[in-house]
Each structure stands twice: as structure tokens, then as C-alpha cells.
């Protein structure tokens, strides 16, 4: 490795792509019994990675062309699958996001997972995830991306099922793996389509050729739609969205890291990674736009009725991912990536805050957290409100800027239906996120619960006071950092935009709204959106916050609709039925019977025939030696007669 010191950029990238893997290996093989050491190794590795990522971002921020390193990973006939790094503006931005959030979550986990028997295992899996995600982000080719994409899925499976002794957790892990696998089959076939139709899987080459029209349009469309299947699976888009809410069975920091901020955003990242390729196929873009819209609206409705604090954020993640997909599909490259960035910040913030509540009150139910005195935990309460404001898109929080950008893109789209859907989605988001906030801020207790209430209060206070040790602060610091980021990030919109777009002249045309700045239409849109968001918050206040509010929600008046939402539009029932009917009772049953009855039956039949045939003629065998001898003598006699005469 003599060449390492000569190229600091390469060594930094290599560090990101190897250190977490090594840390995982070391933890799993050697340091499992030593929890503190394992934790130190993992956090140390991710800190170095964070440093490297920041270093790369800073050194390469003005780089005129993407920096690319490649080595042949496998060579088979004329197909070369490279392993390498592609460091351009987008990948560096995403790398930094992943490193920052991973770092914060790992620090947070020191407190959250404190005393858990599987502490070492937890950090090993976290390292696995960090490794897979960072290597995926800087992949130069689609196959490397796919490989680490699958590994990220594996890490997700392991972390969702982290509490493996809980049946529902392992069930959720399995569901997540299989459902994303379903999408990945499409992704894989899409890669093969591109490989066969174009012959090169380098991301830059693909983008370039698609833009220049060097690839057959049919190949582009088919490839893009198939690759989009992978996005649907990983980013939990309709119709594969139900695994994500179930994935909340994992530890809360995992939900924050994987299932909101980074991993599920991988789908959106993939879309933006090969954005010019997608953009070359209007049909694929239309499909993506429709799917994104359906997802966004569907997931928001589901968030209206659940009382599980993590479920609300899960549904909102799905819905925000749908929002990003919409933006990209409508041509808003920057808006999508910008929302991805801000969302990573504020959604991680929301989850980590919820984690503090859950850790404190040992329940996921927002009503019980409220009754237990959730608002007494000042730091997380304030931070969570900051996150919710950002999610709802209220000025001056980061979500406001990115949402405005997306709405601006949608306004440009000829079909105004999508703009309407986007605005409706914004209002719904504000409503359900503040429904949660108000539940915790203004708890209601029924009369018979009053005594419990007091007790719970005292209990909560005790906890609050007692936990202001390192455990609490390990959780509080990351939260406060994220809250600050959420507050300021929005004001860096222009910087981010010029940083990202310097390399994407292709999408300039689509970005007219953001570039052209602030026409009258834009102001109108801005005001409408903010009004809708504030309206949503106010409506939530009327129903849940206000003193005379019933805390029931308007949906209580439409029980049928409420059941529909609460059952996730019966999508899970549908999948369950389909799985039972098609797989278990269908193919499996038929094939198993075929194996037992037809194939084995046939073979056993042949054997039985042989045995039976033997038995049928076995009466000839008397077992008497002398009968055989008589027969022999007689036969010799006959032979003598025949030949002699």
C-alpha cells in the first residue's frame, strides 16, 4: 500500500469504505464480551469517517470534474465489474449526510442502548450499516451500487429484528427484507436491461449517454421503470410501503438512522444519482410522479389515526419520501435533493426526540407519554417542536425552504393536479404532526386515572431528574445539534443550490422556478402553502390542543374511513391473503404434493413393482436344497437327450 499516502483524497475515501467494515469484524469476532470497547471502536470508526467525509467535501467542493477511482472487482469475459469511488458533488453531499447522522445516532445510542445485553452486537450492525451505506453512496457503477444497496437491506433486516426474541420484531425484519427484495428484483433486471442494451454500467457514462440520446429510448424507459422498482421497495413507495411502519419494531435510534434519514432515502438518492437517465424517459418520469403522489397522500392519511408516536413519524417519512420522488419525477433535481437533506436532519431529530420519550416512559403511546408528563422534559420537547415545525413547513425552519422548492417545481408541471396534491399533502402533514405535539403538550386524563396521573408525574420527574447523567446527555446533545441544524440549514439554500447545480447543467432548464427567483406566482404559492400549513396546525390545535377540545379528531365522525386508515387501506390484509393463497396454499402446496405423490410416488411405484414382481414368482423358491438339485439333474438329463439324439 505504498501509494496510499500520496493521495489523501483516495485514502480518505478508502477509509470511509473500509473502516466501519473492519470495526464490525473486530466487534463480532473479538470484542463481543467487552461492551464499552465495542462501542468505542464503532464510534471511533464513524468519527474518522465523518472527518474523512468532511475533508472530502471541503477539498473537492470546487473540483471541476468528478473524481473517480476504479479497480476491477471481478472480470468475466468482457464484463468488468469495478469497485471504486465516484466523488462528485451529489455523492459527497450524501456521504456527509450519512456520516453526520450515523455519527450522531451512534453517540445517541450510547445513552439509549445503555445496559442492553446485545450492546456489542448493536454496534456491529450499526457499523455494517455505515459501511454499506457509505460505500453505496460513492459507488461509481450501478452494480456496485446494487451490491451495497442489498447489503444496506441486510443491515436493515438485522437492525429491525434486533430484539429477535420479540416475535413481531423478527416478523417485521423478514417483511422488510422480502418486500424490498421484491423491488430489488426489478432493480436487478433493470441493471441487466441497461447492461444488455447499452453495455456500460458506469453511472456517469449512463447519464451522459442517456442525455445525448445514445441509448435506445425503449431501453431507457424499460431500464428506468425497472430501476424505479428498486426505489419503490427501498423508499417504501406505493405499493410496497407497508414494511416501513412495521420496521419501527427496531430500536428507536435505528428508526432514526435507517428508516427515516438515510437508508430509505437511498431510493431517492438512486433516482437523483441517475437523474439524467431518468429524465431521458418521460414515461418513466410520469410513472414515478404518479407513484410518488399516491404514496404521499396515502401515507399521510394513515398518520391521522395512529397513537404510536413512532408510527406517526414512520408514515410521515413515507409521505415525505413520496414528496421527494414527486419532485424528482417532476424534474426538480435540486428541490428533491434539498428536501432529502433537510428531511434527513429534521426526521432524525424527531425520531431521536421520540426516543428520549420512549426511553423515559417505556411506552410508544403518545397519550400515555402526555399523561406521564412528557412536556416536563424541556429539551426534547422543544427540539421535537422544532422538528415538527420543520416537517410542517413553517418559516424559518429548514422544511419550509425545501417544501417551497418542491411546490415550485410542481407548479411548473403542466398538470396542476399534482400541485394540488402537493398542497393538500402539506396541510395534512401539518395536521398530523401537530396532533402528536398537542397530545403530548396538553394531556387529558379521565377521572379514574387521576390518581395514577399524579403518581406517574412524580415518576416522570424522578426519571427526568435522575437521568441527567451521561446517559441523558449522550442523547440530548445529538438532539440539540440536529435542532440547530434544522434551524439554520434552510438559509443555506442558495449555497447548496449553486454547489449542487454547478455540475448539473442538464437540469437547469427544469429549475427555472428556483433560479428565476420570485415571480408573483411564486409568492402566491408561498403564501398559500404557509397558510395551509398554519391552517393545518390550527385545525390540530382546535381538535387536540384547545382546552375544550375532545382530542378525538374529525375522523371519529366517519368510522368507516377511520378503520380504513387505521388498517393501512387494507394493504397488509391484501398481501397476507395473496401470500397465503398464492404462495403457501398455491405453489408450495401443489409442488410439495407433486414431490410426494407424483415424483416420489412414481419412483416408489417402480420399486414396489419390482418387489411385487419378485414376490409373485418367489413361490418357485421352496428353500429346499434338494429340489434344486433334482431340477438340475433333470435339466442335465434333458440336455444330454437333446444333444445326444
Amino acid at each position: 500500500m505504498m501509494w496510499l499516502p500520496h493521495d489523501p483524497v483516495l485514502s480518505a475515501a478508502l477509509a470511509c469504505a473500509t473502516l466501519p467494515f473492519l470495526s464490525m469484524a473486530v466487534i463480532l469476532i473479538f470484542t463481543r464480551p467487552y461492551q464499552r470497547l465495542s462501542c468505542a471502536i464503532s464510534v471511533g470508526a464513524i468519527t474518522v469517517c465523518l472527518g474523512c467525509a468532511l475533508y472530502l467535501l471541503i477539498t473537492l467542493r470546487h473540483a471541476p470534474a468528478p473524481v473517480e477511482y476504479q479497480w476491477a472487482w471481478i472480470v468475466s469475459s468482457d464484463m468488468v465489474i469495478p469497485f471504486g469511488f465516484l466523488l462528485d458533488r451529489l455523492s459527497l453531499l450524501m456521504l456527509t449526510i450519512v456520516a453526520v447522522i450515523s455519527f450522531l445516532v451512534q453517540v445517541y445510542s450510547i445513552g439509549y442502548m445503555h445496559g442492553d445485553p446485545g450492546f456489542s452486537r448493536y454496534y456491529a450492525f450499526q457499523s455494517l450499516f455505515a459501511w454499506a451505506m457509505m460505500t453505496m453512496v460513492i459507488a461509481p457503477g450501478m452494480l456496485q451500487l446494487y451490491i451495497f444497496w442489498e447489503l444496506v437491506g441486510l443491515a436493515s433486516y438485522l437492525l429491525i429484528g434486533y430484539y429477535y426474541e420479540k416475535w413481531s420484531a423478527s416478523q417485521a425484519g423478514k417483511k422488510a427484507f422480502v418486500m424490498t427484495r421484491l423491488g430489488d428484483i426489478g432493480f436487478f433486471l433493470g441493471i441487466i436491461t441497461v447492461l444488455l442494451g447499452f453495455g456500460d454500467l458506469g453511472i456517469l457514462h449512463m447519464n451522459h449517454a442517456a442525455q445525448a440520446g445514445d441509448i435506445h429510448p425503449a431501453v431507457v424507459t424499460l431500464g428506468a421503470i425497472l430501476i424505479f422498482c428498486g426505489v419503490v421497495g427501498k423508499s417504501a413507495q406505493f405499493p410496497l410501503l407497508t414494511w416501513l411502519p412495521d420496521a419501527m419494531e427496531g430500536p428507536t435510534p435505528v428508526s432514526a438512522l435507517l428508516h427515516s434519514a438515510t437508508m430509505v432515502a437511498a431510493g431517492v438518492y438512486l433516482m437523483s444519482r441517475i437523474f439524467p437517465f431518468f429524465a431521458a424517459s418521460p414515461d418513466a418520469m410520469a410513472v414515478a410522479l404518479i407513484i410518488g403522489t399516491i404514496t404521499m397522500l396515502l401515507a399521510s392519511t394513515m398518520a391521522f389515526v395512529t397513537y404510536d408516536i413512532k408510527q406517526v413519524w414512520a408514515y410521515s417519512t413515507v409521505s415525505q419520501l413520496g414528496f421527494m420522488v414527486m419532485s424528482l419525477a417532476a424534474g426538480g433535481y435540486f428541490a428533491g435533493v434539498f428536501h432529502l437533506t433537510t428531511h434527513a436532519g429534521f426526521k432524525a431529530l424527531l425520531f431521536l426526540c421520540s426516543g428520549i420519550f420512549i426511553h423515559e416512559y417505556h411506552t410508544n403511546d403518545m397519550r400515555e407519554i402526555g399523561r406521564g408528563g412528557g412536556r416536563k422534559l424541556t429539551i426534547p420537547m422543544i427540539c421535537m417542536t422544532v422538528g415538527a415545525l420543520a416537517l410542517a413547513g413553517i418559516f424559518p425552519f429548514s422544511g419550509f425552504f425545501s417544501k417551497e422548492a418542491i411546490l415550485g417545481v410542481l407548479a411548473e408541471h403542466p398538470n396542476k393536479l399534482f400541485l394540488g396534491a402537493g398542497l393538500l399533502g402539506a396541510a395534512m402533514t401539518a395536521y398530523y404532526s401537530f396532533r402528536l405535539i398537542f397530545f403530548i403538550l396538553f394531556p387529558r386524563s379521565t377521572a379514574e386515572e387521576a390518581s395514577h396521573h399524579e403518581e406517574a408525574h412524580g415518576h416522570g420527574d424522578d426519571h427526568g431528574g435522575g437521568h441527567h447523567g451521561h446517559v441523558f446527555w449522550a442523547m440530548a446533545w445529538p438532539v440539540m445539534i440536529l435542532a440547530t441544524v434544522t434551524l439554520v440549514l434552510g438559509f443555506f439554500q442558495n449555497e447548496l443550490q449553486s454547489y449542487l447545480l454547478a455540475l448539473e447543467p442538464a437540469s437547469h432548464g427544469h429549475e427555472a422556478v428556483e433560479h428565476g427567483g420570485h415571480g408573483v406566482g411564486h409568492y402566491l404559492l408561498l403564501v398559500t402553502a404557509v397558510c395551509l400549513a398554519v391552517g393545518g396546525v390550527f385545525f390540530a390545535y382546535l381538535e387536540f390542543g384547545w382546552k375544550k377540545a375532545t382530542q378525538e379528531g374529525f375522523l371519529r365522525k366517519f368510522p368507516a374511513v377511520e378503520t380504513l386508515f387505521a388498517n393501512r387501506w387494507y394493504m397488509d390484509h391484501f398481501y397476507r391473503k395473496a401470500l397465503d393463497l398464492l404462495v403457501y396454499c398455491g405453489f408450495t402446496n401443489v409442488f410439495t404434493r407433486n414431490d410426494r405423490r407424483v415424483i416420489d410416488g412414481g419412483i416408489d411405484g417402480i420399486c414396489r413393482f419390482t418387489v411385487g414382481g419378485g414376490r409373485a414368482v418367489s413361490f418357485l423358491q421352496s428353500g429346499m436344497l434338494q429340489y434344486n438339485l433334482v431340477l438340475m439333474v433333470a435339466a442335465v438329463g434333458v440336455l444330454v437327450l437333446v444333444f445326444a439324439l
Partner: protein, 491 residues
Amino acid sequence: MTAMEFAQFPILSAILFSTLLALLVILFIPDDRPKLVKQVSLGFAAVGLALSLYVYFAYDPHKGGLQFVERVLWVKSLGIYYFLAADGINVPMILLTAVVLFTGVLTMWELDKRVKEYFALTYLLVAGVYGVFMSMDLFFIFVWYDVSLFPMYPLIAIWGSTRKEYGAMKLTLYLLAGSALILPGILYLWAVAGGTTFDLFELQRLGFDVQVQRIAFVMLYLGFGILAGVWPFHTWSPVGHVAAPTAVSMIHAGVLMKLGAYGILRVGMTLCPEGLVYWADLMALLATIGIVYGAFVGLAQTDLKYVIGYSSVSHMGIVGLGLSTLTVDGINGAVFQMFSHGIMTALFFSAVGYIYDKTHTKMIPELGGLSKTMPKASAFFILAAFCGIGVPCMSSFWAELLVFISAVKTYPLRGILAVSGLVVSALFMLRVVQKTFYGEKNPKWEHIPDVPLFLASPRIILVGILIFYGLFPRLILDIIQSAVVPFVNSL
């Protein structure tokens, strides 16, 4: 000792005859010294492993072709040669055999029933396997092939479990039926070529008529295919795996099934390329059915070993699919899959072996929550399952990738079907993992100790190999490729 001198040393014969020597030595150890038998077995296995590793490292993929050639005329009138050689296709197979034998001996360290006979028969079996992999002479390939079949019957019928007589008998009958097809196939080719040589490469040079190739290929394909678990001749394999003792399952599923695929490639495809072209369509169809079918049937099984047996059917289907594509990528993938599937199933059976030894059951509904009591033992099975699902950075992923890419290219519809089989295989592997290892701690198994380091060592080796070749696939793929590229070009 210089490299030249070492090249003269008949290393392949040394590997082959060290197993026969082991067999002899074991036979001369008194019955009441089982410990000594095990130590001797392990010693010889280690020697074999070291020699195979030497072959693996000394084989020069840039030069390619046959290396370490040993060729002696044996019976002149029939044209039988004692002809051993290594090329890119059998170098990984030899390594695989050595690894599986070594880990298999370690896995059976706690055996206490007729130890001497068990290890003697194992060595006879392995001698046959080595013989088939190394021989380049049809006569010897057939002889060694039958040598490797014979010990299976006693090994299963004496040391097995669950319906062992039935399993042993079924397996033996099936495999003998296979060799009853292979022998006439070989003799037919030999006779058509003039009855002067059994040398594989001389026969290849002589060439055969298209019609002859078509007939001979289908005989060889079915004969070897039975051993490779080609659908619909696969049912012996789950039953046999279930009945066999742990290490025999390892050798059997890990190595013996590869013998079938290797035979198709080495004998069938080398001598009858035209026949292959003619039958490739059918091969691809059967292989695809096998992939999907195996996964679905695996979903319904309740016995851990049945599950692995059916996963083998599915994975061997991938080998068949790769071979039938007739492309460099496909055959590369197929050979790679033979190697990694061998290691993977060995790991599977080894992991189940420990669980079965301790709990005396391998029924999934009776198990459950094992991760709590034996985290290490469970981890090995779970890792094998990940490999079976085709998780990247484990060696079988690369094999599947290559096979699927070339399959979609050559047979789009069947390729897509086979790729979709991945979802089912993920579902069924994870289902087994969940039901066996996850969930509440089961009080029944609470007293069971986790694997001690020594017993874990074979599993650690296997896991290490899977991950090592998953991260650095070129180390083996380049060797395979050195043989496959000229082979495909010669078609």
C-alpha cells in the same frame, strides 16, 4: 528445491493416494483407539488440504490449460491412461473437496459409534471424489465415480437417522441408475471413436458426428444430472441429506452433488458440444424449474435438513442454468456456484449437526429461540442462510450474479423467472431462521452449552472462506476463467 523440481513431483497423485493411504492406516488401527483414528484422519485431511492449497496457489491462471499433468499408459489394448491433470475448472473443486473433508472430520469429532469404520469409509468416498475431479480419462472417471457412490450406502444406513434405510436405498438406487446411463454413454463414445483411447482430450480431438453427440449427451446429462439433483430427478437428495450423518451430508451435498455438475461439464460438454447445443433449451428449462420449485417446496418443510436439501436443489438449478447458457459468464458463474454452494451447504449441515447433536431434534416447530442459548451456533446457520439468499459480499452472490446476467441474456423469460425465485428463496430461508433461532428463549434448551471453540473451528473456516471469496472473488474467478474462456471458444 526449485520450482522446476517441484513441478515434477506428482502432486495430484500424492493427494489422491494420501486418502487411500489414510484408509489403509485407519484400517490397521485397533478398534479400541477411536481417539487415534480421529487424530490420524485429521492429520491426513490436513495433509490433503495443504497439498490442495499448494495446487491452488501454484496453478498459473495466466498460462491456463492443463497443469501438473501426469499421464501413463495403463492398458494399451483398450487405450486406458492413468491421466491426472489440473485446470481452472477442477482446481477449485479439489480445494473444495479438501476443505469439506477437513471440516467434516472436525465436525464429527464427537462421534462415538464405530469410529474406525466411519472414517475409513469417508476416506474411500473422498478418494473417489478426488479421482473423478483429477482424472482426464473416461475409464478412470467412471471407476472413481462408482468408488465414490458405494460408501454412501453404509455411511447413511449405519450412522444415519430419520428413515435411514429408506434414504440410503433410494440414494443408492438413484445414483446407480445414473451410472447405468453414464457407462453406456462413455462406452458408446469410446466405440464410435474406434475403441482405441479413453483419453478425454484425444477423444475431443477425434470429434464426433452430430447425431452421435446428441444421443451420447443426453445419456451423460441424465446420468450425471441425477447426481447433480436436476429436477425431476432430485428427490433422492433431500431424503438422502436428511438421513445421512452430519459430515456425510456435508461431503454429499457439498462435494458429491458437484460431481454430477462437473461430470456434465467435463465429459458431456467437452465431448458433445453439438449435443449440448441441441439439448441446452431443455437443460435451461429443467434448471429454471428446479430453482423455483426447490424454493417453493422448501417453504413447506418442517425438518431443518429437508429445508437445506431443497435449497440445494434450488442452488444446483443455478449451476445447471449457468451451464446451459453456453456463455463464458454463465459457465464461470456455474463453476463458481459449484464451489460456493459446496462451502455453503457444508456450513449449513455443520451448523445443523451441532444443533441436532445437542437437542436431538431437527424439527423446526420443536426448536425456536435458539439464538438466546447458543448465539454462536445460531450465527453460523444464519450466515449460511444469508449466503443462500444471495447476500452480496458472500461468495455465492457473485456466482448467482454471473449466472443470472447471462441467463437473462440467453433465455430472457426463463432468466426472469429464475431471478424471481430469489424472492421465494429469501422468504423461505428467513422463515426458517426466524422460526428456529428467533423468538422467546425456549426453556427446553436452556441447559445446552454454546459451541466451544474447537468444535466451532470448522464452521469458522467455512464462514471465513465464504466471506473471503465474497470480498475478493477474482482470486478464484480468474482461475476458473482461464479454463472456461478457451472451452467456450472451442465450442
